[in-house]
């Protein structure tokens, strides 16, 4: 390929990417727009008189919600890894009886619509007193990531050399010891991948939040944005500023862990 042709492709690539990311740019642009300029027609293509009033509203009103989302996201990460990693170890390396059946169930579990799960949880939580609680949301949100986690860990651990287990056995290590000191450290990258997705999915969840925590004092940020849209349709700069802030984890994770993201998409082939 000639150098000239590849520059041509680069130009095309930049145009495609710009088109694709335009909504993201527009979000940032609107978040910096003054309230009186929001209804301008045609709108400014870039923030002519940038203002931070939208972000001030975020700091005034959304900080507790961001904290709640952070807590829920981290809770889901811990729960998902703690449940999924040992199970995958059993399926991949300890020849668990019925391991294939279990994997099959996990694939099917990912096909259940979130609405149905939400209704089931709602019915249970009403009685159990878990409605509007952070714990209830952590438990419900974790159902998005746990099946994915087990499948991804299983795929990864199946590829670990079995000689390692053999060696551990010779050294007198039992199954638990082998899991903690050999398998888990070697699976570090897949733990990162699973954690990343568990966090992002919990952070982004709207269905469970809107059904199980609608009257909660501690609301996740997705509900914060939703409340804005419902009540306050003139404050689109504040809505977009919250949206920008709510996108920060995704942005950070994309920069820091881009290869794990691609690995997760292809390995689990899961979108939720």
């Amino acid at each position: 390929m000639t150098a000239r042709r590849s520059w041509w492709k680069l130009a095309l690539g930049v145009i495609f990417t710009a088109l694709m990311l335009f909504p993201v740019y527009w979000m940032v642009n609107v978040s910096l727009t003054r309230t009186q300029d929001l209804r301008l027609s045609p709108p400014h293509i870039f923030p002519v008189n940038p203002t931070l009033e939208g972000f001030e509203a975020v700091i005034r009103q959304q900080l507790p919600n961001l904290g709640t989302s952070l807590l829920i996201g981290l809770g889901c990460v811990v729960l998902t890894v703690v449940i999924a990693a040992p199970a995958a170890y059993a399926i991949a390396l300890l020849n668990l009886r019925g391991g294939r059946t279990l994997n099959f169930i996990l694939l099917v579990a990912q096909m259940i619509p979130g609405v149905v799960m939400a209704m089931g949880f709602y019915a249970i939580y009403v009685r159990a007193g878990l409605l509007n609680s952070v714990w209830g949301l952590i438990l419900a949100d974790s159902t998005i990531a746990v099946p994915f986690g087990v499948l991804l860990f299983t795929a990864f651990m199946s590829g670990l050399p079995r000689e390692l287990l053999q060696a551990a056995k010779v050294d007198g290590a039992n199954a638990w010891r082998t899991f903690v000191s050999i398998v888990l450290p070697m699976s570090r990258n897949s733990v990162l991948t699973v954690s990343l997705f568990a966090f992002l999915w919990a952070w982004s969840d709207f269905i469970f939040a809107s059904t199980l925590a609608r009257n909660s004092e501690l609301r996740p940020v997705t509900l914060g944005i939703y409340a804005y849209i419902g009540n306050n349709t003139t404050q689109w700069n504040a809505i977009m500023a919250t949206a920008v802030v709510a996108s920060i984890p995704a942005a950070i994770l994309l920069v820091v862990a881009q290869r794990y993201v691609a690995a997760g998409v292809t390995a689990g082939a899961v979108k939720d």
Partner: protein
Amino acid sequence: MTTSLTRRPAPGTDTVSVTVPDPRKRRPSRLLGSRWVAFGFAAPLIAYLLVFYAFPLIRSVDLSIHDYTIRAFVQGNAEFVGFDNYAAILSSPLFGQALVNTTLFVVVSLLFQYAIGLALAVFFRSNFPLSGLLRGLFLVPWLLPLIVSASVWSWMLNSDSGIVNSVIVAFGGEQINWLTSPETALTSVIIANIWLGIPFNLVILYAGLQNISLDVYEAASLDGAGAWRQFWSITFPLLKPVSAITLLLGLVYTLKVVDIIWIMTAGGPANSSTTLAIWSYREAFGTGQPDLSPAAAVGNLLIVIALIFGFFYLRIQRREANS
């Protein structure tokens, strides 16, 4: 055990470059501990699945075959009505419309996501400066919280102050009431959904392309096949299994989409963008009065549809794994 794609991940993803051994072919002697030790490690997951999947699902079936009013809900003495809720749903005038909307939403979204995703995957396959970075940036829409994307699209498609209408008007077109007119509401949510699904299709199809050996193309080039011919005679046929999996997975996941439609149009106006999932959500949680029994009936119907296609997915996947 996941898709066959795990065998050959995208470049730069050496972390998960795992060859999954077929457990049937390779069943080594028990290395560590007994059958019970293995079960012990899996026990938390099994308990978790029973409590957080099986139980809510049973509860949802239970909701759909009883008549749960708010009071009955709290007291727990709902009347058993068998399949009455299902009959009511199927004979409701909304059923036909929701089914048509769901089909349109899923089929049109998938066609465009797939076509654009594939075109981009082919485009990004030829290495040019910064191609990796640009491909990475394409993931952004997929990672954003859905409520963020949905609100951005709502504002962009706003009738009076939206950028989309500004552009249309600037080119001499008519202003369109994207979200507030029954003719365009479904189109609007489909556009947003296509945008959301492109990254997923791009990543999976790109990984599939990596599996096609470059030698085949070289041979085709020597035989004088042009780029277009190469695409239709090599890329597309060889990519078929990956395409099938991408489309089926996309279908299963698009069927259950709630957030994006709910936030942009809430299924309206006049039910013009109500899908089965939205119908179920609105019955259960969309009004002040939760009406969980019919909602659960719609939801369970949706599970059945999803599972039918899900089993197609599993069959293709199994055939892949065996070949």
